[in-house]
């Protein structure tokens, strides 16, 4: 394979996409000449896409940051002066020490977008310093996980919904895997070829929808109501799967209707356990612990036990579902009643049904309830695959020094911490592999209200991103071809390949770029913490592999250097990691917020609220095959495929505004504005407009999509796991600027 000047390096595509495909890099005289898909143990997992192929143009892009720079004008003014690495790191260190002295170590925050890997060295440093590490799962991806955490006790529950063999019907809810989740789409295509019926529910007619047997438009943000309406029809017809509900859900567990808590054995029997759930045994006509021998538990009814009124959780679900008649749900979702009834029959009578739930759908303010409603629908019809997600990804990195003690702060909470100092002030912000201004919500708030509160902003990146422009010091970082890393098995969707993968260094760092791990080591040394950061990248990976799960599974560096190694299933993960050990469609924890059961709430910025008088259009910012978030937006080959941003608008919305296809329009709300070209067509639902996200500020005529979004915290999500950025829960108005 290797000659003197030519080599093939197995590595991974680590470019802000969750698939992390195995790549084979061709290197000649130290120059990356070509990439191709790497052979995988399972050929179905061999894959490369237009983005992966284009990453070479990212590496050799003329605009790469080449050396450290310090700001010499105002923040964002774009005036820079080249400095040495030593000067950059010394200056940063002095500033960090001063800020730590004045405001405490928690005021130092790192914001690093990572899907695992040694980028977590920043978290390790933050932890060692007792500093703060921003959790960026709330950058659009945490509402669904909140729902899954409540339902299953696991943050990525797609395995339960899509892991079954040979589904008869596949329902894609608000998801476009043809563009954003190739392994999911490959599975769907294979199932279609086998004869499965494919249904897509989406406000947009997407490449995925083009493959559907049935495409159903829905008013954005109302999927929860649809799931409840389907459940209404199922319960009305008595088509629920009682034995599945009894066996696998909290359905038979009695709930104290006053406190909203599950009744426990010790509330009924003096010496009883406070852990045991109670059921109503219809044969004995009394409440008994759920683990009694041969009970006949009731799923419905109201029972009084020692003066306490109780109902089985399933009865409480039935009570709430009763409210969601097809008439009402049709009015909410704008889906005809007969389609709601038809979907009910699929779920109940064409099993198994695989429900692919999109991340787009959960980017509404109550996206956690949407996931919970669909999970509940799947559970009461017995359409859950009873196998837990394979591996808690981050556990892999717990052996990095300090990582378990760092103060993790959800990104939306960090907005408040920076702006108001609550719960603790943040005064230094270090951004790496993250483009806050471009990709996090309400960029106006960030630039106007947050950044001025910071005494130091450092950005390590490969380009002068929208965020780097606001830095005091920018540091040139490496692309993934220039640094070594260990990629964890990620199988968010069961069809996604779960492998340990080694990201091998294919080429030396370009210009003066340094790997983030080296930046961390240098910084730690200056902060007198060098002793904790002596390991090289390879040593760190050896350490991670030598402990816990990878060691038990026999994953070694030698094996990984040859190529990806399949992550064996962990034997010790319970089916559901909820407090009850069952699928919990009823969540005690959320009783106080009135969300103990899935229920429909209008989107925060709904077209049915008074705000819509001023801003009548729902605004989406969907993901595409042309970029990975803002990564690769400046790469020529991908720009040839999609040269500029455009607003997608239905003719019925364009016409009354005098807008024609190709015109320049302005989308705006109280938070900001965005000027761009418009595409008028039928692929988007009336009342909804969309721009493919990830474009950089210079790609718009004026403003950006992120000026329009908001950063409002959802309290239920805050309570369960982490509040999400509700990017798809935004109202705007659109006006014509000029003819195209």
């Amino acid at each position: 394979m290797t000659t003197a000047n030519k080599k093939l390096v197995p590595t991974v595509c680590h470019s802000a996409c969750g698939s992390v495909c195995g790549l084979l890099a061709h290197v000649e005289d130290g120059v990356l000449t070509k990439v191709e898909a790497q052979d995988m143990p399972d050929p179905r997992h061999r894959h490369i896409c237009a983005r992966g192929l284009s990453t070479i143009q990212m590496v050799y892009h003329p605009d790469r940051l080449k050396y450290p720079m310090k700001r010499v004008g105002e923040r964002g003014e774009g005036k820079w002066e080249r400095i040495s690495w030593d000067e950059a790191l010394d200056t940063i260190t002095d500033k960090l020490k001063k800020i730590r002295e004045e405001y405490g170590p928690q005021s130092l925050m790192w914001c690093v977008s990572t899907i695992g890997g040694l980028d977590l060295s920043y978290a390790s440093l933050a932890g060692t310093l007792q500093g703060t590490f921003a959790s960026i799962i709330g950058d659009g991806d945490s509402a669904g996980p909140c729902g899954d955490m409540a339902s299953f006790g696991a943050i990525w529950g797609d395995c339960y919904l899509t892991g079954m063999e040979n589904p008869e019907v596949i329902i894609a809810w608000g998801t476009n895997p043809a563009e954003t989740s190739v392994f999911g789409m490959r599975q769907i295509q294979a199932d279609r070829e086998r004869g499965a019926r494919f249904i897509v529910i989406d406000p947009r007619f997407t490449p995925t929808a083009s493959k559907a047997d049935q495409y159903i438009r829905i008013r954005p943000g109302t999927d929860t109501a649809l799931a409840l309406g389907i459940m209404h029809v199922i319960l009305e017809k008595g088509l629920q799967d009682d034995s599945f509900i009894l066996e696998n859900t909290v359905g038979p567990f009695l709930v104290n209707t006053q406190t909203g808590l599950f009744l426990k054995e010790n509330e009924v029997i003096a010496e009883g356990s406070d852990q045991k759930f109670m059921i109503w045994d219809t044969s004995a006509n009394e409440a008994r612990p759920s683990d009694s021998s041969n009970p006949t538990p009731a799923l419905t009814g109201t029972f009084t036990i020692d003066g306490i009124e109780c109902k089985p959780a399933f009865q409480l679900l039935a009570d709430i579902v009763k409210e969601y008649t097809p008439v009402k749900v049709s009015e909410i979702t704008e889906i005809p009643e007969d389609i709601i009834r038809e979907l009910a029959l699929y779920y109940a009578q064409r099993k198994p049904v695989a429900s692919y739930r999109g991340m787009g759908m959960q980017r509404t303010f109550h996206g956690d309830l949407t996931y919970r409603a669909i999970n509940t629908l799947a559970a009461i019809t017995g359409n859950l695959h009873l196998e837990a997600p394979q591996l808690p990804v981050y556990e892999l990195y717990m052996y990095l020094h300090g990582i378990m003690t760092c103060n993790m702060m959800p990104i939306l909470k960090a907005y408040d911490a920076i702006e108001t100092g609550d719960p603790s002030p943040i005064k230094a912000l270090w951004i790496a592999k993250q483009n806050w201004v471009n990709q996090l919500p309400d960029s106006g708030r960030t630039v106007r209200d947050l950044f001025p509160k910071l005494d130091l902003i450092v950005v390590a990146d490969i380009f002068m991103t929208a965020s780097a422009r606001y830095a005091d010091i920018v540091l040139p970082a490496c692309t993934f071809y220039e640094q070594m890393d260990l990629m964890p098995p990620i199988n968010v969707v069961p069809s996604m390949p779960a492998y340990f993968k080694l990201q091998q260094r294919a080429i030396e760092p370009l210009h003066e770029a340094r790997p983030d791990t080296e930046i961390v080591r240098e910084l730690a040394r200056r902060l007198d913490l060098g002793e904790y950061f002596e390991n090289s990248d390879e040593q760190m990976i050896e350490l991670l592999l030598s402990t816990g799960y990878p060691a038990e599974m026999g994953i070694t560096m030698e094996k990984l250097k040859q190529g990806p190694v399949k992550a064996p299933r962990r034997p010790d993960i319970p089916t559901f990691s909820t407090p009850s050990g069952k699928m919990e469609f009823y969540s005690e924890k959320l009783f106080g917020l009135g969300q103990q059961l899935p229920c429909y709430k209008e989107p925060l910025e709904s077209v049915r609220t008074p705000l819509s008088q001023k801003y009548p259009l729902t605004f989406l910012t969907t993901h595409t095959r042309f970029r990975s978030h803002s990564t690769l937006a400046n790469v020529q080959r991908l720009r040839e495929l999609e040269p500029e941003p455009f607003l997608q608008m239905n003719p019925s919305d364009a016409e009354p505004r005098g807008i024609n296809d190709g015109d320049i329009v302005r989308a705006f709300n109280d938070r900001g504005t965005m000027k761009l070209k418009v595409n008028v067509h039928q692929a988007i639902q009336p009342g909804t407009v969309n721009v493919n996200q990830g474009w950089w500020p210079e790609d718009f005529i004026e403003g950006t999509h992120q000026e329009l979004t908001h950063s409002v915290v959802n309290p239920a999500q805050d309570l369960i796991y982490e509040p999400n950025s509700a990017y798809y829960d935004v109202l705007v108005e659109v006006e014509k600027v000029r003819e195209g």
Partner: protein, 192 residues
């Protein structure tokens, strides 16, 4: 029958990911142009359907050089720069091409592109350099949905022929009697 290399493209599998376009560019070091393009068969713009809701229709059509048995580009070229090999691959000899672009007009599939930096034309070679190494064309190798099949379309035992047979492959613009070496499997009918 003699060997004839060709492609079978399953339009039901194709999701319009456009990876083939970039694969061709990277394999052949092309800027701005590619040996394959992908059209949306539906509405007027990319990724838009024809029809009205709920009766939308859309699919994608990747169009490389068809490597015709009777290629209209060959007689159209005054410089005699285009030739057909015995294995069916139609190639442009860039050294002979003087950039008159007559072949571009002659090709009914729009498969020949103008390589402006060298003032020649360029088109899909079926990655003849890879075929010689026993590999498949790079677009086929990279196809996300495994919708492209390469092989001897004259040999009924090959995977490519069998896929064409099983999925009722059709010829693009058969009325032109070009006898394309690229065959298309139609999108499946929607289930009622």
């Amino acid at each position: 029958m003699s060997k004839r290399y060709g492609l079978v493209i399953d339009l039901d599998r194709c999701t319009g990911c456009l990876t083939c376009i970039v694969a061709c560019q990277t394999e052949h070091n092309l800027e701005q142009i590619s040996g394959i393009r992908v059209e949306t068969v539906g509405g007027t713009g990319r990724d838009t359907p024809s029809g009205t809701y709920p009766n939308f229709s859309m699919h994608y059509l990747p169009i490389p050089c068809m490597h015709c048995a009777e290629p209209p580009c060959i007689p159209a070229c005054p410089a005699e720069a285009i030739s057909k090999r015995l294995d069916g691959i139609v190639l442009v000899d860039e050294a002979k091409c003087d950039g008159c672009l007559m072949c571009m007009d002659a090709c009914p599939y729009g498969a020949i592109v103008n390589k402006s930096n060298t003032n020649t034309v360029w088109k899909c070679t079926l990655c003849d350099h890879r075929i010689e190494q026993g590999e498949v064309p790079f677009c086929v190798d990279c196809c996300e949905m495994e919708a492209m099949f390469f092989g001897d379309i004259n040999d009924p035992s090959t995977q490519v022929s069998q896929w064409a047979e099983k999925r009722n492959a059709y010829l693009y613009k058969p009325e032109l009697d070009t006898n394309p070496g690229v065959r298309y499997c139609p999108p499946r009918d929607k289930q009622k």
